[in-house]
């Protein structure tokens, strides 16, 4: 199921006696088309990657060079000073730690509470299962903008959770898409496996911990990756909740720098891009290392509903 689909014409063993002519022509066609697709993809890759390259180059420039020549590395114009400058203004380390706590809290809650509900929806028969599943599907339709004001009133004003990690984490605590991914993976495990364990007298909790979870490790990595994108990149909610810079995730402190402080810096673009590199690097690195867990079949199954 999770196998990459490949144009199989050339690999399927076709008996040579049967009509060799159409086979040859379609292989030819495919060969003829590939360069077009390839060039298209290469242009796309350039458009997608160039801004990242430019972000890095720009973060190292002493003087912002916006000419075409500035897009190429110039060893006379390289400096690390922009990183020092942005660090003096917004404390990169503090920002990274806050982003890490915010993201880590959400991932921990999602794994801790999401796996049991995903397992229950896939493998347990209990009253209300249909209702819980309907809730899971419905939740993904609720737009966050409608919740913006009431959540702000409740969390910041009523519960007094402004400038706290709890206030940041709460609205995102259990990622519903991740719950859906868990359910899909648990659904693929044969029910007979669990029946057998039950007959052997294993408790449901033990079945979950010792049989089901070890079998869905890839799902856990996929769900963690999906969950990671949300809080690490989230701007609006932590921006509303944190006014104290000691609690601001890096996305918020960098955004505040862009909108307020930038005008006063000697090389604002250099400093902004240096901060942008620090904010982007963990997410980009994570998704390159774990790219196998983020393939279309996983995403497709989670989004199809």
């Amino acid at each position: 199921m999770a196998k990459d689909y490949q144009p199989t014409l050339s690999t399927t063993p076709v008996t040579p006696a049967v009509t060799p002519a159409p086979r040859a022509s379609s292989t030819e066609k495919q060969r003829g088309l590939r360069p077009v697709s390839f060039i298209l993809l290469a242009v796309g890759a350039f458009v997608f990657l160039f801004p990242f390259y430019y972000m890095f180059i720009g973060s190292l420039q002493t003087e912002p060079d916006t000419s075409v020549a500035g897009a190429f590395p110039n060893f006379e114009n390289i400096t690390g000073a922009n990183y020092v400058l942005i660090d003096e203004s917004i404390n990169l380390f503090r920002g990274l730690v806050n982003s890490g706590i915010f993201t880590g809290g959400v991932i921990a809650c999602t794994v801790l509470f999401g796996i049991p509900v995903g397992y229950a929806l896939a493998q347990l028969q209990f009253r209300g299962r249909g209702a819980v599943f309907a809730l899971l599907l419905l939740v993904q339709m609720v737009p966050f903008q409608l919740l913006l004001i009431p959540l702000y009133v409740l969390i910041v004003r009523d519960y007094g959770l402004a400038d706290s990690y709890l206030g940041m984490i709460l609205p995102f605590a259990i990622n519903s898409t991740a719950v859906f991914v868990f359910r899909q993976y648990f659904l693929q495990l044969p029910a007979s496996l669990f029946e057998a364990a039950r007959i052997d007298g294993a408790s449901e909790l033990r079945i979950l911990l010792q049989i089901a979870i070890p079998l869905v490790r890839p799902a856990i990595v996929t769900a963690i990756l999906l969950t990671f994108i949300g809080p690490w990149n989230e701007f609006l909610w932590p921006f509303l909740v944190t006014k104290d810079t000691a609690f601001q995730p890096l996305a918020v402190s960098l955004a505040n720098y862009i909108s307020n402080v930038a005008a006063t810096a000697a090389n604002p673009f250099g400093a902004i891009l240096a901060g942008a590199c620090v904010l982007a690097a963990p997410a980009v690195a994570l998704f390159i290392v774990f790219q196998r867990q983020f393939i279309s079949t996983n995403i497709g199954s989670s989004a199809k509903g």
Partner: protein, 316 residues
């Protein structure tokens, strides 16, 4: 599997002397522990989603203002006053028009480009991983970070204008009232495209190869095959892509806040969510902001309904 059923079946009649406890168990299902496993999630959804949702509607119908925690004040019911205030506000009309411009540019561009690139990606085997990863890198990166580069690229004397030379627009992209919103739409298309390519790729991989083979035997060219096989086959995915792109557009906040310095120039790139932030939180009118939120969501639902009508999701 066979052992469990053969063991389970003969046990059923054997345990007939004790039907009462069995029925009590059935009330909660065969594995009532599922209720315990689901409870934290259900409580979470009720607390941070269902209740605030109802609360948003409540706020929008009352004269609501911020108070210190624990202070009891009267918040009288005002009917549709907040809605009337929102609907007569020219800024609100402007922000919805801006979102309209955004969607007209963003949605067709997203559907077209992601389908074309996913189709190409599905055919090429070389460097496939490299292409796939480079496409979703913008999607997984914080908008705040990439906004920094776009500011740099599209500045008055930025790289884009350097390349265009005299063809560069004046005033420049982000400070030009006619171009600010299209530039934001372009930015969001670029940022989200990778995710939609993955969605389409999953749909494309479900199309049986035989369809293409028989079409090619019948003499259909690649372009014809794309229009007659690929496009109709991925219709459910297209519906999902337009729906998600519309929701993203309606949620626009970070881009007008940072890219065009707070919805500038002169309100040409404000978004409804940006106005909700300005009205509700900066100016302390959560009631009108909540009403704006309700109207926005109703608008999204209407668009989703129309898209379902015209693109359709279930007829595969």
């Amino acid at each position: 599997m066979t052992t469990s059923t053969t063991v389970g079946k003969p046990r059923d009649p054997g345990t007939s002397p004790a039907p009462a406890p069995r029925r009590r168990k059935n009330l909660l299902g065969r594995q009532p522990l599922g209720i315990v496993f689901s409870a934290p999630y259900v409580i979470f959804i009720l607390a941070v989603l269902a209740f605030p949702l109802g609360y948003a509607v409540y706020i929008s119908f009352h004269d609501f203002f911020f108070t210190a925690p624990g202070v009891a004040v009267e918040r009288p019911f005002v009917g549709f006053d907040n809605y009337a205030a929102v609907l007569t506000d020219p800024d609100v009309g402007r922000s919805f028009a801006n979102i309209g411009v955004f969607l007209i540019i963003n949605v067709p561009l997203t559907v077209g480009l992601s389908l074309i690139l996913a189709n190409a990606l599905n055919r090429v085997t070389r460097f496939r991983t490299f292409f796939r990863v480079s496409y979703y890198v913008p999607y997984v990166t914080a908008s705040v970070a990439v906004v920094g580069v776009w500011l740099f690229l599209f500045a008055q004397n930025g790289l884009v204008n350097s390349i265009l030379g005299p063809l560069g627009p004046d005033p420049s992209w982000l400070v030009n009232s006619g171009l600010a919103m299209p530039t934001i739409a372009l930015y969001v298309t670029w940022k989200q495209l990778g995710f939609f390519i993955l969605l389409y790729l999953a749909a494309l991989q479900n199309i049986p190869e035989e369809l293409y083979e028989s079409a090619s035997v019948d003499g259909a060219g690649k372009v014809r095959q794309f229009w007659s096989i690929t496009v109709p086959s991925v219709r459910p995915a297209s519906f999902l892509v337009t729906l998600l792109a519309t929701i993203t557009g309606a949620n626009l906040f970070t881009e007008p806040y940072l890219l065009t310095g707070g919805g500038g120039p002169d309100g040409a790139s404000t978004s409804p969510v940006f106005l909700m932030y300005q009205e509700g939180i900066l100016q302390g009118n959560p009631d009108t902001a909540a009403a704006l939120g309700v109207i926005l969501v109703l608008g999204v639902l209407l668009l989703a309904f129309l898209q379902r009508r015209f693109i359709g999701g279930k007829d595969d």
